[in-house]
């Protein structure tokens, strides 16, 4: 097929990406032309609409069999459709929260929705990547937008520090990714995942190839903030503006985990014996470090950072199981985890006193007496993240534990159980503070947008996702079946 024919044939499959590009370039053009900071609300609404449309298109146009586009640079399949839908809806929710927040604080810069959409475009490329170049460019597009977003409040020292720290550390991990990718290319002779997979199954490479794979896994672990590559997470989460933190904690995680699953189960499926130990170790360290690190935190955003490290550990536990349930359970885990996380950040965003954020654990004290509805929402969402039945988070944990035990990694499942219990301790500490302590100074009334988002997220954790679990499970399992 000639490149031109390929381009014409590929076009229709990339509609979700095209929607985002058209929005980003169009909004940028009109924004620069008209000085659109005045129309921040309109641009943001259009951005949310573009994200929702991209997610809906990804679901609606999911092909029956995987379709290679752009001469095999990307693939559109069940996994990419699942991940794109989740990424797009998560990003739409966080963009909505962010737009409302920045509108209220009068930080109306029209580039915000544009950068969010370009970051999401990078994630779409990541989850569809089918060769090493596409993989790297997707990661870079997403990370580069993220650095700028982290430093969004440029006059604030914390935000600048977050942006700089994220940039420097993440640039090193990008270097590792390239270094590893160059080894993989050198020892297999191709950047194409299919060719690499064929070379791996013929036993090419040896130590050099494993070395390249491990370097790439380290870099991807950094991007998803799995311990021991998590050092940047607490500082960046704390320093970045809260809506940006909410964005970081949701969509990029899905993209990174999906990309890791694709790398493990497509080109390197033949090296399972090698990478299983690495992924299991990453999962174990993340779960334990996330659980214990959170115990002493007083800032809610830092606490959520450790919580996300621990949760990435649970998702990796799913990936470590080389069976069909493994990647499926990781995808389901993310689908159940992300809504609760967005809901919690919606509530953290709503916690303000005299126009300044009140984001410490002490500010939660006695919330139940002043704002019973917020307290109830916090309770549901935290129960879900902690994995208390009957909330959705419990089912997610159950599935990854099951996959891990089925794969013979019983020690990992036991360790995960211990970590979950320790993590439950600090979630319960928050709840005890909310319900049983004397109230702290009054918070200002929460915005409707935050409450609606949090209520919706809580409704998703129980009962909507629990009821819909069967169809999500079928979708995820059908999506990953092509890998086995």
């Amino acid at each position: 097929m000639s490149p031109l024919q390929d381009l014409i044939a590929s076009g229709p499959h990339l509609l979700p990406e095209a929607v985002l590009v058209v929005f980003a370039l169009g909004a940028l053009f009109f924004g620069a032309l008209l000085g659109a900071d005045r129309w921040f609300g309109l641009t943001s609404t259009a951005g949310v609409a573009a994200l929702v449309a991209a997610g809906a298109l990804a679901i609606a146009r999911q092909p029956v069999a995987p379709v290679d586009v752009f001469l095999g640079a990307m693939v559109i399949d069940g996994v990419s459709a699942f991940a794109k839908a989740l990424i797009a809806f998560a990003a739409a929710a966080t963009l909505f929260l962010g737009a409302v927040h920045f509108n209220a604080t009068r930080e109306r810069r029209f580039e915000f929705p544009i950068l969010v959409c370009l970051a999401v475009l990078g994630m779409f490329v990541m989850v569809s990547a089918q060769d090493l170049i596409t993989l790297y460019i997707g990661v870079e597009l997403q990370s580069l937008s993220a650095y700028v977003l982290a430093a969004w409040r440029r006059d604030d020292a914390f935000s600048s520090e977050a942006g700089l720290k994220y940039f420097v550390l993440s640039a090193i991990s990008s270097g590792l990714l390239l270094f590893g990718a160059s080894f993989v290319y050198g020892f297999t002779g191709s950047i194409d995942f299919d060719v690499i997979a064929a070379a791996v199954s013929e036993g090419a490479g040896g130590v050099g190839l494993v070395f390249g794979l491990v370097l790439m896994l380290c870099a991807l672990a950094f991007k998803m903030s799995a311990a021991p590559f998590h050092m940047w997470t607490p500082d960046v989460y704390e320093g970045a503006p809260t809506p940006v933190t909410a964005f970081f904690a949701a969509a990029p995680k899905v993209a990174a985990v999906t990309l890791m699953a694709r790398v493990l189960y497509e080109p390197f499926a033949g090296l399972e014996a090698q990478w299983q130990q690495v992924i299991a170790a990453l999962a174990a360290i993340s779960m334990v470090w996330g659980a214990f690190g959170a115990l002493l935190q007083t800032n809610l955003k830092r606490l959520m950072a450790y919580s996300s490290i621990a949760n990435m550990g649970f998702a990796l536990m799913g990936l470590a199981a080389g069976l069909e349930q493994g990647p499926a359970s990781a995808l389901i885990y993310l689908a159940l985890y992300v809504p609760a996380n967005i809901g919690i950040f919606a509530l953290i965003l709503a916690m303000r006193r005299d126009g300044a954020p009140a984001e410490t654990v002490a500010d939660l004290a006695g919330l139940a007496q002043k704002r019973p509805w917020m307290a109830a929402l916090f309770t549901m969402l935290l129960f879900s993240i902690a994995g208390v039945p009957p909330f959705a988070g419990f089912i997610g944990k159950l599935l990854v534990f099951q996959a891990s035990v089925d794969a013979g990694l019983v020690w990992l499942a036991v360790l995960g159980g211990v970590a979950a219990v320790v993590a439950a301790a600090y979630y319960l500490r928050l709840l005890a503070s909310i319900w049983f302590q004397p109230p702290a100074a009054a918070l200002q009334p929460a915005g409707n947008a935050n409450l609606i988002t949090a209520t919706f997220a809580a409704a998703l954790t129980f009962p909507i996702l629990v009821v819909a679990l069967g169809s999500i499970e079928r979708w995820a399992e059908a999506a990953v079946r092509m890998w086995f």
Partner: protein
């Protein structure tokens, strides 16, 4: 023979100048030695038959990165003596990292020679075209997607630079072309009728 001489000369200069980068006391000299290292490395690439990489190295690293370094070194007041003060305390960790990297390089070199059984050779480009031509043939066709996405990455960098640094201060004089074009003669010039022998007063 000639190629071997060229290789050893270039390699020796590259190693010496790379050492001088970290040994030079004056940071400006360091950057200049860095540029020399880049040039010799470009020469090595030419010897390998990778003239496109050589061009990239000169254009990107010498033309942009090193010159940027030079600007930073000369324009910012960075106290290098102070930066070097912690050197000894970081030495053990640095030595450890260096040892790990060296071990990796040795490991990979052995793996590479073991995997093929023969020294690595440069792949020939098909059809007798040069490197740059071969890249030109596929860049806008086979790698169109990567090329366009790289363009978006650059766009993000541009947006980021503007968002993080542009400030609209009041009272800044800047060119307003439509105002310039729309200016009329009556606003721009005033005719004074001066009588002979008298000034404007």
């Amino acid at each position: 023979m000639l190629a071997a001489i060229a290789f050893y000369v270039l390699a020796a200069v590259a190693v010496i100048s790379a050492f001088a980068v970290i040994a030079a006391r004056n940071p400006v000299h360091s950057v200049l030695f860095l540029i020399l290292t880049f040039f010799t490395a470009a020469g090595l690439f030419v010897l390998l038959g990778a003239e496109f990489l050589a061009m990239l190295l000169v254009v990107v690293y010498v033309g942009a990165v090193a010159v940027l370094f030079l600007f930073v070194v000369m324009m910012l007041d960075v106290d290098f003596a102070e930066l070097k003060q912690g050197f000894l305390s970081y030495m053990p960790v640095g030595a450890l990292v260096a040892a790990v990297l060296l071990a990796e390089l040795v490991l990979v070199a052995f793996a590479a020679s073991g995997a093929r059984g023969a020294p690595l050779a440069i792949a020939e480009t098909s059809g007798g075209v040069t490197n740059a031509e071969a890249i030109g043939l596929v860049l806008y066709t086979e790698y169109l997607l990567a090329f366009q996405l790289a363009g978006l990455v650059l766009l993000v960098a541009m947006i980021g630079a503007i968002v993080l640094t542009l400030r609209h201060r009041p009272g800044v004089k800047k060119q307003d072309i439509s105002a310039q074009v729309g200016r009329r003669r009556s606003e721009a010039v005033e005719l004074k009728d001066i009588r002979p022998g008298q000034g404007l007063g």
